[in-house]
């Protein structure tokens, strides 16, 4: 009996030490977050709808994209890691558009003159997907988007299949997109 208690204590200590070690390692070395797995359909939650404006002042709703796989990218012009991902997303838009895929970029640049910064940036980077101007309210809807980039991959039913915080891998995104494109809409989007 005593040896069993000793064993469980030892396991608890080892687990606690492992947890603390992982925590310290993560904070000190800023390792990239764990790969964002694509959730099973039953575990996916509905992506909150929003209405934001593009550079032409046209209202864009996320619900306009229902039936498509959407890569929803929260980014900003001043965000270096975002600039790495943008060419990948431009490539995905070109490669998968005909299969029912769209990238929607939500710029978190702020200020009254945000488009004066964003529009030249779109031209310079040859961004081929729609960009809308986000705000704190939109960020709050998505759990408080603070680290940029933060990207949500949304299935054809309008549900969040994976979340990627910070710079993620190109293959990680592409695998998620392909998996979702291969799955038809189920009508479970609520």
């Amino acid at each position: 009996m005593k040896s069993a208690q000793y064993f469980f204590r030892l396991v608890a200590i080892v687990l606690a030490a492992f947890g603390a070690g992982t925590f310290v390692w993560t904070y000190v070395h800023h390792e990239p977050p764990a790969k964002a797995a694509v959730k099973e359909g039953k575990d996916r939650k509905k992506a909150p709808d929003f209405e934001l404006k593009d550079a032409n002042g046209k209202a864009v709703r996320l619900s306009d994209y229902r039936g498509k796989v959407v890569l929803l990218d929260f980014w900003a012009t001043w965000c270096g890691p975002c600039n790495i991902e943008i060419p990948w997303f431009t490539e995905f838009q070109r490669k998968y558009k005909d299969r029912g895929f769209e990238v929607l970029g939500v710029s978190m640049d702020d200020g009254d003159n945000a488009w004066k910064v964003i529009s030249p940036f779109i031209a310079e980077k040859k961004i081929n997907y729609r960009i809308v101007l986000g705000n704190d309210q939109t960020g709050d809807q998505y759990g408080g988007v603070e680290a940029l980039p933060t990207t949500f991959v949304i299935d054809r039913d309008g549900r969040i299949a994976s979340v990627h915080v910070g710079l993620s891998g190109k293959k990680e995104f592409e695998d998620a997109i392909q998996k979702l494109l291969d799955s038809p809409a189920t009508g479970n989007g609520a």
Binding site: H30, W78, G80, P81, D140, G143, L148, V163, V165
Partner: protein, 156 residues
């Protein structure tokens, strides 16, 4: 930012554990004794947690947000601000052809030289300003933030 959609928190929790917005710490500035018509210097000492950087006052690219100290009110007349020299660093999120970024990390100081007006009112007064910065780590960037700067000035 507030967390209104609680259901998303579990989704973000794992990833966010490594992507926390850093807080720039600013040391309290001791009361500044200044004489009318004389010069005075204020040093703002700040620090970023390990693993984070902020753009220097002269960022490498024009689209980056610089470290900026703005004095907004008080009895002192600003003459000059000296920012820390940025260090050139390369980060994992940069493309191969990108230039190194001019950044500040760890502890740094910003020195402001003031002049006290000859007709300044005697006694204690508040000199106020804001320090604006935009920080990143190796994988993510965080929205620009402003920290209030308050200095108690005793004019004699």
């Amino acid at each position: 930012m507030r967390f209104k959609s609680c259901w998303i928190l579990p989704l973000l929790a794992t990833a966010l554990s490594a992507q926390m917005a850093p807080t720039l710490k600013v040391e309290a500035i001791p009361t500044l004794k200044a004489s009318k018509g004389a010069a005075a210097t204020v040093t703002v000492k700040a620090s970023l947690p390990a693993g984070y950087h902020a753009n220097s006052n002269k960022p490498t690219y024009s689209y980056l947000i610089p470290l900026t100290l703005k004095w907004t009110g008080g009895p002192l007349q600003m003459q000059s601000i000296t920012y820390p020299e940025g260090t050139s660093e390369r980060y994992g999120f940069q493309a191969p052809g990108d230039k190194p970024l001019s950044v500040v990390t760890g502890e740094f100081s910003i020195v402001t030289k003031f002049k006290v007006a000859a007709d300044a009112a005697s006694g204690p007064a508040a000199q106020t300003g804001t320090l604006r910065y935009q920080a990143c780590d190796n994988h993510a960037c965080y929205p620009p933030k402003s920290v209030p700067i308050n200095v108690t000035v005793s004019v004699d």
